[in-house]
């Protein structure tokens, strides 16, 4: 029996995306290293200064070592999250290159999904290398998973959360049918979601009601939640709460994405392929 055309397309497109991303070896290496290392490093310096200034052993529910481990874990997991710059759909809409989806037997989302699959494969590989390297080079500092199932739970949550980000960014890109330029919306979304996910500041440093409220959002369960499970600050069984929150988010985002794309395509008047 022949494979479903969309599945075949997904596999083929994922292969192309993988070839493309690995063709830029040096740039890929520099970007990954810079992205993975610099921000957490700067944030760690910041928190070291905070602890030193206060002379405190525990702030925000963690000691300095615990805070450092949390920040590294968050940066480690953040590398798995689908990035807004991974999609160029808005540009295609603006330039008039989406006509092909009106006439050819393929779905645009399948290509975006292929990019998500490629991204997830590549970044999981990078994260694994980082994890091994970090554990060997920085044994006292690197956030070692408390148990194999904690690592698995964190990975599953991060990849499921990353899928939510794909849906969100696809949706925002589709708004280009109306707004023509949406990069500001994408950047805005990145700022807000990274803040809500506890990347810029651990949730334990935020006011209690706000921190509790953020635990109902998929950004938290994509990054900070998995980090806490990985470090044993949350029980592994909380993975079900996380998956439930992410599941609800997907249930809302998926139909929304379909409706916006369909309506946008209906008013599309470009001529390029």
């Amino acid at each position: 029996m022949a494979v479903h055309p969309q599945v075949a397309l997904l596999l083929q497109a994922t292969l192309y995306e993988l070839k493309k991303v690995t063709a830029w070896r040096m740039g890929f290496f520099v970007r990954e290293i810079a992205r993975a290392l610099l921000r957490p490093l700067l944030t760690i310096f910041m928190f070291q200064a905070v602890f030193a200034a206060q002379g405190a052993t525990e702030l925000g529910g963690r000691d300095l070592d615990g805070t450092v481990r949390y920040l590294i874990a968050v940066a480690w997991i953040e590398g798995l999250i689908f990035h807004d710059r991974m999609l160029d759909l808005a540009e295609q809409i603006f330039q008039g290159y989406v006509t092909k989806y009106l006439v050819m037997p393929m779905r645009c989302f399948t290509l975006a999904l292929a990019r998500y699959v490629q991204f997830s494969i590549t970044q999981t590989g990078v994260a694994a290398l980082l994890g091994i390297g970090g554990a060997l080079l920085l044994p006292g500092v690197w956030p070692l998973p408390v148990a194999p199932e904690a690592l698995l739970a964190a990975l599953v949550l991060a990849l499921a959360g990353s899928y939510c980000f794909l849906l969100l960014y696809f949706l925002l890109n589709s708004i280009a049918f109306w707004l023509e330029v949406v990069w500001t919306l994408l950047v805005m979304t990145r700022f807000v979601t990274m803040f809500l996910a506890g990347v810029m500041l651990p949730l334990s440093w935020m006011p209690e009601p706000l921190a509790r409220a953020l635990e109902y959002g998929f950004p938290y369960w994509s990054i900070a939640g998995p980090a806490e499970i990985l470090l044993g600050e949350r029980p592994v069984s909380d993975v079900w709460t996380g998956l439930a929150v992410i599941g609800v988010s997907i249930t809302v985002l998926e139909p929304l994405r379909r409706v916006v794309w369909k309506r946008g395509l209906a008013r599309y008047g470009g001529s390029g392929m």
């Binding site: 810079a34 910041m46 200034a53 803040f195 500041l201 006011p207």
Partner: protein
């Protein structure tokens, strides 16, 4: 014949006029960009406000000092958004050979290229950033006398010059490593680094950011200058150093431009 200054001012005026006309076509985008920068400000403000709920000071920076520092971060960022948008496209345009017109040199090529994407919406953000900076200053109980205003003008001009100089410096990498997009990478890393006072970094990194890649000019040094955290003698000396650094970078850029080859026009 126009003087050199008038010629440069006239080019900037034309860029501003074109920027206004362009943005009038994308009205929603105008609002979006203003809101986007406000979100950027809000996220930074909340991060530090929440931090200061647990601590009194960070490396000698009190909550009030940090607000002034953030004001400088926002003013610096708004300047980049107003005038230096072209810096993000340099790598691609160099690769595609779209810089031929710079060879005609109606003015300094750095001004002609880097200032071409004027953003009127960022002017509104500059107003918001300046308002926050003034609020941070006044709410901390500092005076707003003529001497202080002079200090602010000095600090703000320095942060703007710092933005231009480093944008140009990073773009030099593109001449050597074509299509590497290293200028964008270094720009992003610098933005990340400048978001916190360099006092929180290890000493060697702080010195690096002060003297070798002077990201400190974007926010740390101007804020420290107005807050009196550095003496006037050192401030004057550092400003002279940075002016000399800028001249060297501009000359280096012009020399590097000789490597540019293109068949387009």
């Amino acid at each position: 014949m126009k003087s050199r200054f008038a010629q440069h001012a006239s080019i900037l005026g034309q860029y501003a006029r074109a920027g206004l006309a362009r943005r009038a076509e994308f009205r929603v985008e105008f609002i979006n960009q203003v809101v986007m920068d406000c979100v950027f400000y809000l996220v930074h403000i909340l991060t530090f406000e929440f931090l200061y709920n647990s601590v009194d000071s960070i490396e000698g920076w009190s909550r009030a000092d940090m607000r002034v520092f953030l004001g400088m971060v926002f003013v610096s960022d708004a300047f980049h958004m107003i005038w230096l948008g072209a810096a993000w496209f340099f790598s691609a345009e160099l690769k595609d050979g779209r810089l031929d017109s710079l060879r005609l040199r109606p003015a300094h090529p750095v001004l002609v290229y880097f200032f071409q994407r004027f953003s009127p919406e960022a002017c509104l953000n500059m107003l918001i950033a300046l308002s926050y900076l003034v609020w941070a200053w006044v709410s901390a109980g500092h005076a707003l006398d003529p001497a202080t205003l002079g200090l602010f003008v000095w600090a703000i001009l320095l942060t703007w010059l710092g933005r231009v100089t480093l944008a140009v410096l990073f773009s030099i990498l593109e001449f050597r490593f074509l299509n590497s997009d290293l200028s964008r990478l270094f720009m992003l890393l610098s933005i990340e680094t400048a978001d916190r006072p360099i006092d929180v970094y290890p000493r060697r990194l702080a010195q690096f950011l002060l003297w070798l890649i002077p990201v400190a000019t974007w926010s740390y040094f101007p804020a420290a200058l107005v807050l009196g955290r550095i003496g006037p003698g050192f401030a004057a000396l550092y400003t002279l150093f940075f002016l000399a650094f800028t001249v060297l970078v501009m000359r280096w850029w012009r020399r590097s431009f000789r490597y540019y080859e293109s068949a387009l026009s």
